[in-house]
């Protein structure tokens, strides 16, 4: 009797767990298509004044508008809320003419007052996430509903790539921007999608905005589904539970190659991995800090290290071929800012030359094969901080250790967390480190972290990456900040990279590709930004995604074989049980 009830419950559960989802999909299949994107990072907050995680900023790009946008073709600035703009001769006054008829998702019109409110809020609260971008603003004024005038203290070259979501002033006025809004007010935006359901750490559901000024998105809805584990996200892609997965490991990416339903994209030149040196860590006033090895202050040692590294091997073995060998600070394909040295002055892989440089500079070999500093017994033994967040750092460190041993330099890799690495480098307690940056479409911030001013003031923590301080570089940094012509500025930016290269302050090892995959059987090829080699994982691609066919229901789950198996198990198990019981009895 009891057994029968168990069977009934079991069967009921099995029967109920299969078909409903498939049946529902079949019933409402024809029109709306929802795209499901795997989000591997949690959303820290939906408050656009504080959110800084990658997933959050991606959501802001979907739900809000910006003053200007990036061109999906080449990342150059294109109109956003601003249709046209003019600059005064001194480059200090910008006048933007805005698009008319843009509305918030609650129906209220979006005017210059909203942009003025957003920027002023950031100017008044310097700790907000995007406040650094307006630190040189002198005033923002909405002279009429469609005109916005911004005056700045110094010329700002990245004025047309401000990454600041514009929020509705009528809802935010009077609220603390730190705490943000709650309830439905927090979901009001003006972007191509608007949020309709939030389940933190589970999923975020969006609906497309009908009549969006750039065109109504082709997909009716979008879901960001949270995954803690990228292997699980890949499985969900294979099964069809999600449509887009970004940031794959080379192994995951290669394993998806045979699947005809899945399209893959290898985005290039959006990040780089560097080997940083402690070439004399110091505060902004020049006071030395930390405990860096003195030999690394010698540019010849750094050059020798550079020549001992075989970058092609790193790309092939560590990145499995998914990336390109590093040269300049910014990737050469990152037009127009990227740079690479002319072939004549490039420091290629040449261990013999590295040994020669060190011999001539007086670094003789000690008894154990490790070189000693000139006129001293101090060995060339460097610690190397290796963040444990990504596998390629650890693998690269192993290669570096072997290559540098061949030129008489001992490397002691220290595996540590990203945060600990950050804390150690910030106070100069390191010799060398492996690290990386993700590129914004505008290079200003990455250039600024290599200036003397980025070094720490007093006991505060600086923004510097490797404590570089080169007055010549700083002069060029000031110059590019005033150059409003993109071509002229690009030339200066390239000269700056030349200086970094000549000083060998940091060595770019490689530019890892960003590996992505999506359901090619459900969507037409997604839009890349930039078009030639960019990523498909972003608002530009979701808003433009074209569903191929009405959503096909997944193959109906064959439920009867399962029921049969379950029945069989229960019957046999029950029989055995009875048998055992009587055996006990017989005994």
């Amino acid at each position: 009797m009891r057994l029968n009830r168990c069977v009934a419950v079991l069967l009921g559960f099995v029967a109920a767990s299969g078909p409903p989802a498939a049946a529902a999909a079949r019933a409402e299949a024809p029109t709306p298509v929802t795209m499901v994107v795997a989000a591997l990072q949690d959303v820290d907050t939906l408050n656009p004044f504080v959110g800084s995680q990658a997933t959050s900023t991606q959501i802001f790009r979907l739900t809000y508008d910006y003053l200007t946008d990036y061109s999906p073709v080449d990342n150059s600035p294109v109109p956003g809320l601003a249709k046209t703009w003019t600059t005064s001769a001194d480059g200090l006054t910008w006048t933007f003419r805005l698009r008319e008829g843009v509305r918030w998702s609650d129906g209220k019109p979006l005017t210059s007052k909203d942009i003025e409110f957003t920027y002023r809020t950031l100017m008044d609260h310097p700790t907000l996430a995007n406040a650094a971008q307006v630190q040189n603003f002198a005033a923002v004024r909405a002279s009429d509903p469609v005109t916005l005038v911004i005056t700045t203290k110094v010329p700002i070259p990245n004025m047309l790539t401000l990454d600041i979501p514009i929020v509705p002033a009528h809802l935010w006025a009077g609220h603390d921007p730190e705490t943000g809004l709650t309830g439905t007010a927090a979901l009001v935006g003006s972007g191509p999608f608007h949020l309709v359901e939030v389940r933190q750490s589970s999923y975020y559901r969006f609906e497309s905005t009908r009549g969006y000024w750039r065109g109504t998105p082709k997909v009716s809805g979008l879901i960001f589904r949270h995954f803690n584990d990228s292997d699980a996200a890949v499985q969900a892609l294979r099964k069809g539970e999600v449509d887009v997965v970004g940031n794959l490991t080379p192994a995951q990416y290669d394993a998806l190659a045979g699947d005809r339903r899945i399209a893959r994209n290898e985005a290039q030149s959006s990040r780089f991995t560097e080997l940083g040196f402690n070439a004399g860590a110091a505060r902004a006033d020049g006071t030395p800090i930390g405990n860096g090895h003195p030999a690394l202050r010698d540019v010849q040692v750094r050059e020798a290290v550079d020549r001992a590294i075989d970058r092609r091997v790193l790309v092939e073995r560590v990145l499995d071929g998914h990336g390109t060998a590093g040269v300049g600070y910014l990737p050469p394909a990152f037009a127009p800012w990227g740079w690479q040295p002319p072939p004549t002055s490039i420091r290629g892989f040449d261990p013999a030359a590295a040994n020669r440089i060190l011999d001539e500079a007086g670094y003789r070999r000690g008894p154990d094969g490790v070189r000693l500093m000139p006129n001293s017994q101090r060995r060339l033994a460097f610690n190397l901080l290796v963040p444990n967040g990504r596998a390629h750092y650890q693998q690269s460190a192993t290669y570096l250790t072997g290559w540098l041993k061949a030129i008489g330099i001992e490397i002691r890799p220290q595996l540590l967390s990203d945060t600990e690495k950050g804390a150690r480098t910030a106070v100069g307690r390191y010799d060398m480190f492996l690290g990386g940056w993700i590129l914004d479409p505008d290079p200003d911030y990455l250039l600024s972290v290599q200036t003397c001013g980025a070094r720490p003031v007093g006991s505060a923590v600086g923004l510097t990456d490797t404590f570089v301080c080169d007055p010549g570089y700083d002069r060029l940094y000031q110059l590019q900040a005033r150059q409003l012509s993109r071509d002229e500025r690009a030339r200066t930016v390239q000269q700056m990279q030349q200086r970094l290269y000549d000083n060998a302050d940091l060595l770019t090892l490689y530019y890892p590709a960003v590996l992505e995959a999506y359901r090619g059987d459900r969507f037409a090829p997604l839009l890349r930004r930039p078009a030639a080699f960019g990523s498909v994982n972003g608002s530009w691609s979701y808003a433009a995604a074209v569903p191929l066919r009405p959503a096909q229901p997944d193959q109906g789950v064959p439920i009867w074989p399962l029921v049969a198996v379950a029945l069989l198990v229960v019957v046999i198990g029950g029989g055995l049980w009875r048998l055992r019981a009587t055996r006990d009895h017989r005994e």
Partner: protein
């Protein structure tokens, strides 16, 4: 874990021998068991309440000691929350300094500690650095998924472990024992995350002819269905795989524990007497051996519930289960100090509370331990 298991088992075993297994078994057989329990309860009346009071005081002391220790331990975690939250974004050094002051991280450690403790007594656990939300809200949101997962897994794995352990221990080294004990040991030794991923690929995605009929992680379908019955069914479907993983790696210890106790009990004469009276083996096992063999398992089960609340991190990671363990794990990365302190509070409370309950339950189940 093994040594603790062995020790607990040992204590009960010797206690049993001391108090005279045969005589006791006689009592049970005569059906005096319930009455015996009651009289033991009356006899121990005064001491039992003293014991409860003492245990409660001890638990309170232990809790505050662990929280103090945790607070200072989290502060020596490497990494600077202000710096790691700002990393990779354009910020100014002044903004960083200001932020540090806002979060109160520039104050002396003892001042921070005082503020933390005073706020905690008022029920305010602070605001998460990473999520910009009150920690109490986060904990409430994450607690129920974890309790659901861990609770279900605990019930199922205890039941399964007891069932298979009793059968295995009844005929040690028999074919059934060799089979079930090997399976239990192998599963116990399997890395949780790996097993989870295998189950996810096998039953979630589907391999070969096997259809993927269970969802790949998460607590709800996306989007979640509306209505109570649909929601319950939906969550139940999502619960199957993570729960199965936890049960598979957990039930082995109950199996081994109860198997060992049953083997010991089996040698007592009361079993022989019971069988000699003509009782069927199944009822001898259930009515006479099992109650005696259950004591160490009870302790273990309660302890595990406390521990596993924090220990389900691997399962929560693989199945994207929005639980407490993963919240704490992620918080270490920043480090998100208020969240770390908050989760520590929950974990410590769980362990200490479960210890307390285990103590009291065992005392109630077996009055000999009170004396």
């Amino acid at each position: 874990m093994i040594s603790r298991t062995a020790r607990t088992g040992g204590t009960v075993e010797s206690g049993d021998v001391r108090s005279g297994g045969v005589q006791r078994a006689g009592e049970r057989m005569a059906g005096v068991r319930a009455a015996g329990m009651r009289s033991a309860g009356v006899r121990a009346g005064g001491t039992l309440w003293t014991r409860v009071l003492l245990a409660l005081t001890g638990a309170g002391l232990r809790l505050s000691a662990s929280l103090c220790l945790g607070f200072f331990l989290f502060h020596i975690l490497p990494g600077d929350p202000v710096l790691s939250l700002a990393s990779g974004h354009p910020v100014t050094a002044e903004a960083l300094a200001l932020r540090r002051r806002e979060l109160g991280l520039d104050r002396p450690l003892l001042t921070q500690f005082g503020a933390y403790f005073a706020n905690m007594l008022r029920g305010d656990l602070g605001t998460s650095f990473g999520y910009h939300r009150p920690v109490t809200d986060l904990l409430q949101e994450r607690l129920w998924p974890t309790v659901l997962l861990v609770g279900t897994a605990a019930v199922v794995s205890t039941a399964l472990g007891i069932w298979s352990g009793v059968l295995a221990g009844w005929r040690p080294d028999g074919r059934l024992d060799r089979f079930t004990s090997t399976v239990a040991l192998v599963l116990w030794a399997t890395p949780t995350a790996w097993l989870g991923l295998l189950l996810l690929i096998g039953l979630g995605t589907g391999v070969g002819p096997l259809p993927g009929w269970l969802p790949i992680g998460g607590l709800h379908a996306t989007p979640a269905p509306s209505g109570l019955p649909a929601t319950v069914l939906d969550v139940a479907r999502h619960l199957v795989l993570p729960c199965l993983t936890l049960v598979a790696v957990q039930y082995g210890q109950y199996h081994l524990l109860i198997r060992a106790s049953v083997i010991t009990q089996r040698q007592h004469q009361y079993v022989a007497v019971a069988r000699a009276t003509g009782l069927r083996d199944a009822s001898v096992r259930r009515r006479h051996v099992l109650p005696n063999a259950l004591l160490p398992t009870t302790t273990q089960a309660f302890l595990n519930v406390g521990l596993v609340l924090s220990g389900a991190v691997a399962v929560e990671a693989v199945f994207s289960w929005p639980g407490l363990g993963y919240l704490a794990y992620e918080a270490v990365r920043i480090p998100d100090l208020p969240v770390l302190n908050g989760t520590l509070l929950v974990f410590c409370t769980a362990v200490i509370l479960m210890n307390l309950i285990a103590d009291l339950t065992v005392a109630w189940l077996d009055p000999r331990t009170v004396q």
